[in-house]
Amino acid sequence: MALVEVIAVSKEYQSGEEIIRPLDGVNLTIGEGEFVSLMGASGSGKSTLLNLVAGIDQVTSGRIEIAGTDITQLSRGKLADWRAAHVGYIFQTHNLIPVLTAYENVELPLMLLPMSAAERRNRVGIALAAVDLTNRADHYPRQMSGGQEQRVGIARAIVANPTIVVADEPTGSLDDNTTEQILTLLQRVNRELGMTLLMVTHDTDAASRATRQLRLERSELYENGTRLAPRALRTA
């Protein structure tokens, strides 16, 4: 069953006099529970596509439907509410809030959802246990290693049980050993928690951990070397 449907999406922006169009009529379908990696050369538009799916960027044309919601039709405020409930974002540089502890960083997305303090405590506890950082709950980001920070970032992304988790080069700033730990953790998130993941990476080893490996070249998506069939833009 398709969870994410990217339909004829184009994105363009102006850089000085020049109009850049990193995505031009891109189509993509991601099923529920899939772990999709997205590779491509620098500037190919893979991060742009990820940001569009995550709802932090706006399409120039086309449609993105996630769990039946056309997010391109949502206002900025509604889109923020939608992100809170449906998207977990894992950043390359962790992006933890420095003045909050690991526990508070993980709790942050839950503050946006209607739930009791006890439920929040329970969920944060589970998320921190999932990334094996229960004993670091009271530590601030400056007191943790890069790998630990990224694990807190992953806990923050999964704690609200989002519809989709997006990861923008989650191992880009980590050493090999830590990279391995993080990729294993992402696999566990996908397999054991059944979460749908879309991961952008430059690393072919990292990409190989995904259940589907996609490559974006000149606005065309390829899967296992085969170009994905373009789809016509359906009218709503």
């Binding site: 742009t48 932090i56 405020g77 923020a80 509410d81 939608w82 809170a84 992006n95 420095p98 003045v99």
Partner: protein, 388 residues
């Protein structure tokens, strides 16, 4: 809605993120609010001094030729007796009419054999003076006898002397005569508090004058006060005029209107400079957190929630500044004596001043936070999230 706001702790802890910058900003804002407090205290003290001096039931009778300057007034010595006999409704008790003949002048005064001197105000009075000026209370010593003076509790400020120089038993010299301080009086903040009172007869003898500067009459009712005015109009031979004490000091207040206006302008200028200080700090705080603010947006926090947090941070800091300023104001500014032509008054750090200072601080916080926060919020999330 409240569930969608950022945790309160987040804003508070951000203040301690760069402690030195926060401390400097707190210091700057404290100085700004303190300056506001001083200027408001000045205006309030001046207003209070002139307002506290007037009593609606007291009429001042003085020479029509002196304009509004009682120092230049000269009325016949028989005026108090004529007033008492001719005007009905003069307040009296145990047969004593509340009519106070007074001789009032500004003169150079000195202490310690002329080593220290200043321009002071002296009022020759009789024992009826405290009956008419009912705010007057002797707080130390006794009513002056021959060769003695009663000094107000702000007289030393008006003269520029130390308080101890005019303590009971000390001597004061003016108009070629040495006077001994017999007591100190308070008058509830009225302008008399900076005057020197001495027996009228003594002063007349010293000055070789037989006339008076004015006669102050306390009336039973406001209607009766009009009779004094009528008396002055009828007795054109005496060339007198009568004004209510309230009217007299209200007229004086008009002369100080430019000073008050200037004071408010200073308040606005000082507050304006505070806004720039706040803006500078908040720009610095926000620029260093562009990526963090974008992360909060990516997580799902609305711009409004983030904006409120930034305003919370700035307002907390400015309110902290207000607290420090009010504490310093109450400890060191409140009650400080200020000299002016009419005498002296005390800076007042009262509830109105504190309310104005706190409001200024809140406005500084909000106005200082809005432009940098709005600038940060305008940046697209995808760009801001890559900011260094």
């Amino acid at each position: 809605m409240f569930r969608r706001l950022l945790p309160w702790d987040y804003g508070v802890r951000n203040l301690f993120r760069r402690p030195s910058r926060s401390a400097l900003t707190l210091g700057g804002l404290s100085i700004v609010v303190l300056l506001v407090l001083v200027v408001v205290g000045f205006i309030r003290g001046l207003e209070a001094s002139l307002a506290a001096t007037g009593n609606a039931n007291v009429m001042l009778v003085y020479a029509i030729s002196s304009g509004s300057d009682i120092e230049n007034s000269a009325v016949p010595g028989r005026t108090p007796a004529l007033l008492s006999a001719s005007v009905a409704g003069v307040r009296q008790r145990h047969g004593v009419k509340y009519v106070s003949p007074e001789l009032y002048l500004g003169t150079r005064m000195s202490i310690a054999d002329g080593q220290q001197e200043g321009l002071g105000l002296v009022r020759g009075v009789t024992t009826t003076a405290p009956l008419v000026r009912q705010q007057v209370q002797i707080v130390e010593g006794n009513w002056p006898g021959p060769g003695e003076v009663l000094v107000g509790r702000l007289t030393h400020s008006k003269l520029g002397f130390e308080r101890e120089a005019l303590a009971v038993g000390q001597s004061l010299e003016f108009d070629g005569r040495k006077w001994t301080v017999s007591g100190v009086f308070a008058a509830g903040g009225a302008a008399y508090e900076s005057e020197v009172w001495c027996p009228l007869a003594d002063l007349q003898t010293t000055l070789k004058r037989q006339d008076l500067s004015l006669v102050a009459v306390a009336m039973e009712t406001l209607d009766a006060a009009a009779d004094v005015d009528l008396f002055c109009r009828e007795r054109i031979d005496l060339e007198l005029k009568a004004v209510s004490e309230v009217g007299y000091y209200a007229d004086l207040q008009k002369h100080y209107k430019p000073v008050r206006m200037l004071g408010w302008v200073v308040v606005c200028l000082v507050a304006g400079s505070g806004v720039f200080a706040g803006l500078n700090t908040m720009y610095g705080a926000v620029v260093g957190r562009i990526r963090e603010l974008a992360t909060l947006q990516a997580i799902g926090y609305r711009r409004r929630a983030i904006l409120l947090t930034l305003i919370q941070e700035a307002t907390l800091l400015s309110c902290g500044g207000a607290l420090v300023a009010c504490a310093l104001g109450l400890l060191f500014i409140n009650g400080t004596a200020i000299r002016f032509t009419m005498g002296a008054f005390m800076l007042r750090v009262d509830s109105v001043g504190i309310a104005i200072a706190c409001t200024t601080a809140i406005v500084l916080g909000v106005v200082g936070a809005l432009p940098p926060a709005a600038k940060a919020m305008r940046l697209p999330v995808v760009e801001a999230i890559k900011a260094i």
